[in-house]
């Protein structure tokens, strides 16, 4: 076999050998293309599969774990929440607007395929520093808004960080959350030989051919030549597809729904059949509605045209289902049927063009045994060698204006975050919260990952990402429910990157076990690497959903009541390693990330939830990047109210810079009405959690007597640098 030909479909000579052995013949060109996309890293997880098994995915409320289009968790009153996060990094690097837009479109379809109505979107983004990365940043933000705003699903949260390592490999991870009645949860299983395969939505064009293989290679100077591999989105069409799929709930003729994403029709049919032992499918590409002339069977099978769904319909009831789609002016066509021969047979009219065992397509790829090797540890930080803090106020202003900490209002006001009349905690605070209409249930949601920590210590960094997500949920008064993860790494063929993967996944698994949050869905994105120095930090983005039984008890982050006591909950240490303070004030990315004790973390979270449940708290905000003082400034800015504090005199060995700007985890800033102080103090004692009084809310300055005194207006000017 010609090696160039193999490279074109991203298969190795060894993999080709396995194919020939299994088939006992050479595959033809169409078959080779189909195997190439399904055996790509993007679809097969051949480099990460072995590690992913270590992640905890079960729990009492879990209705659907990994392996389906999205995970599903029961939330009570007959409802389940369905969610998943997915990367669209490579397309966004090449064509930021369409790459991001179709990333959003794709994750929405995953949720629709479960029978759920999408209720919210979140986006976790990483770019190189501005202004050099403006093209990526503006294009991605516009693409997310362009798709989400048009389709009418609110974009309620997410995060964005700027680091040098993402300059040529930006990350775009999109998460979608949906709701479904538990008895109407749909699974993408092609059950019942003879049932029809209905292809619905957009016509099939040549766009996106080889997209999955493209996402499984390093980007290089020729990558822009791969632009035809980037798809183009049509949110209007997807809106119609969404509503039509919701209308399918009125009929019981539908057996399964499967989204067409990476690897298009090939993947959709193979996966749908692959979930049912012994099932197969026969399809005729001549029946596929097309956008352009002269498409070969190869083109049709590999096209990644967006806004398409595969629906398995009970035999004889096709008309009933097609009527629903036609009401929305959507094209649909019966393109084949389910069989029980375990084969995917593709015909072009009367001619058979491919015939492959389903198992070979979905599970045949040899798992890659990679070797991890710990790199030289990053250079250590000697905290004692750092000069003492000179001017806390000036440093605070500098940190608030740092691109990683500044206000995100300039971004989220470009997204419709209110449509649906359910957003009860808007973006800008810790987690967003949506109410489940018709109940008192609130769903909190967030995405988190400090990749700088992960770079310095992947195992600890991954734990910190889970803990941070949980704290964001808890700060709204909700309890963590479950996780979806998007694991972004560089080239795993390099031992130090594979080691990062091993460490990250072990850290995630550990933290999720201790905090009792199962991972119900996820995605891995590898090869975010342009060779050598430009490898991204390991970036395991944690998407978390939490629940509060009565959203009337939800908490905001801002100070709202004059005279409230402002408390710091949790203990502070000299945690300056990997902090934003160290980078912004001293120019280092170094040291060990802040130490984390997950048992203490649990105790602090339980205290916050108990206090919130009893109505003792007026606000709660997680201390994250920038430390206590940045968190305090955010509480002031979000509530439009200042705070007056006596001078901060930390007890040695705690340094003043660490007390203000250190990033010790498991800490919150809360505001408490004076009458509730005794109760909060006794709760803290009962949970063995440290509590310190910082000051009193009120006025329009942030002050630590003799140390800093800044009007809110100055803080806001610094903080809102992204708001033009």
């Amino acid at each position: 076999m010609d090696e160039r030909k193999l490279r074109e479909v991203a298969l190795t000579p060894d993999e080709y050998k396995v194919i020939v052995e299994q088939l006992k013949r050479a595959p033809n060109e169409v078959e080779l293309g189909m195997l190439g996309v399904l055996w790509s890293e993007h679809c097969s997880y051949k480099s990460s599969k072995a590690l992913l098994r270590r992640l905890p995915s079960s729990g009492a409320a879990v209705l659907q774990g990994p392996g389906e289009n999205a995970g599903a968790v029961e939330i009570g009153e007959g409802w389940a929440v369905v969610f998943k996060i997915e990367s669209h990094n490579h397309p966004s690097a090449i064509e930021p607007y369409q790459g991001a837009a179709t990333g959003v479109g794709g994750i929405i379809r995953d949720v629709i395929a479960m029978g759920a109505r999408p209720i919210a979107l979140l986006d976790s983004l990483r770019f190189g520093p501005l202004p050099d990365s403006t093209r990526h940043f503006d294009g991605v933000v516009a693409g997310i808004g362009g798709y989400g705003n048009c389709i009418g699903i609110p974009t309620v949260g997410g995060e964005v960080y700027f680091e040098d390592c993402y300059a040529s490999n930006p990350l775009v991870n999109a998460m979608c959350v949906g709701l479904v009645r538990t008895d109407q949860l749909v699974r993408a299983r092609a059950e019942g030989a003879g049932n029809s395969l209905l292809l619905v939505g957009a016509d099939t064009g040549r766009d996106g051919i080889h997209g999955a293989s493209f996402a499984s290679l390093e980007l290089d100077e020729n990558s822009s030549e791969r632009r035809p591999a980037v798809q183009v989105g049509n949110p209007f069409l997807e809106k119609c597809l969404l509503e039509a799929c919701m209308d399918l709930a009125h009929t019981d003729a539908v057996v399964a729904i499967q989204d067409l994403g990476a690897a298009g029709l090939t993947s959709a049919v193979a996966e749908c059949a692959g979930r049912v032992p012994g099932a197969g499918a026969v399809i005729d590409v001549a029946l596929v509605p097309r956008r352009e002339r002269g498409m070969t069977p190869y083109d049709v099978m590999l096209s990644e045209s967006q806004e398409r769904m595969l629906v398995v319909v009970q035999r004889g009831r096709e008309r009933e289902v097609e009527t629903i789609f036609h009401a929305w002016d959507l094209t649909s066509a019966v393109i084949g049927e389910v069989t029980d021969d375990g084969l995917l047979t593709v015909a072009d009219g009367r001619e058979q063009v491919a015939r492959l065992p389903i198992r070979l397509l979905t599970e045949g790829v040899p798992v890659r045994r990679l070797v991890g090797f710990a790199p030289e540890p990053p250079f250590d930080l000697v905290v004692d060698a750092l000069p003492p803090l000179a001017d806390a106020g000036a440093t605070l202003l500098k940190l608030l204006a740092s691109p990683n900490l500044s206000s995100r209002r300039g971004i989220f006001r470009r997204y419709d975050h209110m449509v649906g009349d359910a957003t009860v905690v808007p973006p800008g605070g810790d987690a967003a919260m949506l109410r489940v209409k018709g109940t008192r249930i609130g769903l909190a949601m967030t995405t988190d990952c400090n990749a700088r920590y992960c770079h310095l210590d992947p195992h600890l960094g991954a734990q910190l990402a889970v803990a941070e997500a949980a704290r964001n949920i808890v700060a709204t008064g909700a309890r963590p429910l479950a996780v979806t993860d998007c694991l972004n790494f560089a080239n795993p063929d390099r031992p130090e990157v594979y080691w990062e993967m091993e460490e990250t996944i072990a850290g995630l698994a550990y933290a999720c076990r201790v905090l009792e949050v199962p991972i119900v869905s996820g995605n891995v994105s590898l090869y975010n690497d342009s060779g050598g120095e430009s490898a991204i930090y390991p970036t395991p983005v944690v998407g978390m959903v939490g629940i509060i039984d009565d959203y009337g008890k939800r908490l905001g982050a801002g100070f709202r009541h004059d005279g409230d006591f402002v408390l710091l909950i949790g203990s502070s240490h000299n945690d300056l390693g990997g902090t934003e303070y160290l980078k912004v004030e001293h120019g280092y990315v170094a040291g060990r990330p802040p130490g984390l004790d997950l048992t203490r973390e649990q105790a602090v979270n339980r205290l916050i939830l108990a206090a919130a449940q009893s109505g003792y708290l007026h606000s709660a905000h997680d201390c994250a990047e920038g430390g206590m003082l940045v968190a305090l400034a955010e509480c002031c800015l979000l509530g439009g109210m200042g705070v007056r504090c006596p001078a901060l005199r930390p007890e040695p060995p705690l340094r003043l810079d660490a007390a203000f700007f250190g990033e010790s985890p498991s800490r919150y800033i809360v505001s408490v009405p004076s009458r509730a102080m005794p109760e909060v103090q006794s709760l803290a004692r009962r949970h063995h959690v440290e509590l310190s009084l910082l000051g009193l809310a009120g006025g329009d300055v942030l002050e630590f007597e003799g140390q800093l005194k800044l009007p809110l207006a100055d803080l806001r000017d610094a903080w809102e640098v992204l708001v033009r």
């Binding site: 705003n149 048009c150 009418g152 809106k239 119609c240 989220f412 006001r413 009349d421 957003t423």
Partner: protein, 234 residues
Amino acid sequence: MKFGVVVFPGTWSDRDCGWVVDQVVGAELTYLWHKDTDLKGCDCVILPGGFAYGDYLRTGAIARFAPLMEQIGEFADRGGLLWGICNGFQVLCEAGLLPGALIRNASLEYRCEWTSLLVERTDLPFTAKCADRDVLRIPISHGEGSYFADPATLSRLEQRGQVVFRYCDPSGRVVPAANPNGSMHNIAGIVNARGNVLGMMPHPERCAEAELGGTDGLKLFRSVADNALKVLVS
């Protein structure tokens, strides 16, 4: 009293408007499908927000040709209450039921945020429950909400008092800084000369319950509901 909420393909505020009418106000509700040719006896027809037909070509440009639009035009001519919100306002302008047009925001960016609106007419069925020169907090969510009209149209609107809502600061002053999209004369909503067709860019259906951040939008829905009751009684 019966509200009809129009559903075009691509409409997304239909369910929010329906929620407020049905669950918050408690009035009778029906959805009107764009392919239908019957208004099902509605007293007030709402053209809700969204991207009807994807807003391809130009906002509202295709929606005006929907089969239902002919009935809606006749309904307005008969004096029926017609209320266009966001995309609905754009459709009303394209259909010639209101003057002017909505063009790209001055920032060239989509904007979803809270605005303050000065109410300049309280003698309308849509605003009867507002106080004189009331200031309402209602959010916007649009990329093309900058109101534009030629000078003659604009002065006619002003002379006849057809401007119903103007973007203002929280204290009610109509100032450039309070204009979120570059609308001429800070116009956020206008009414036809007869007073039965209202178009507005902000979304009152997003602020009819305290948990969503405010209840000022409810004043408008209640105004219509109670006014229609009066109409029925008389």
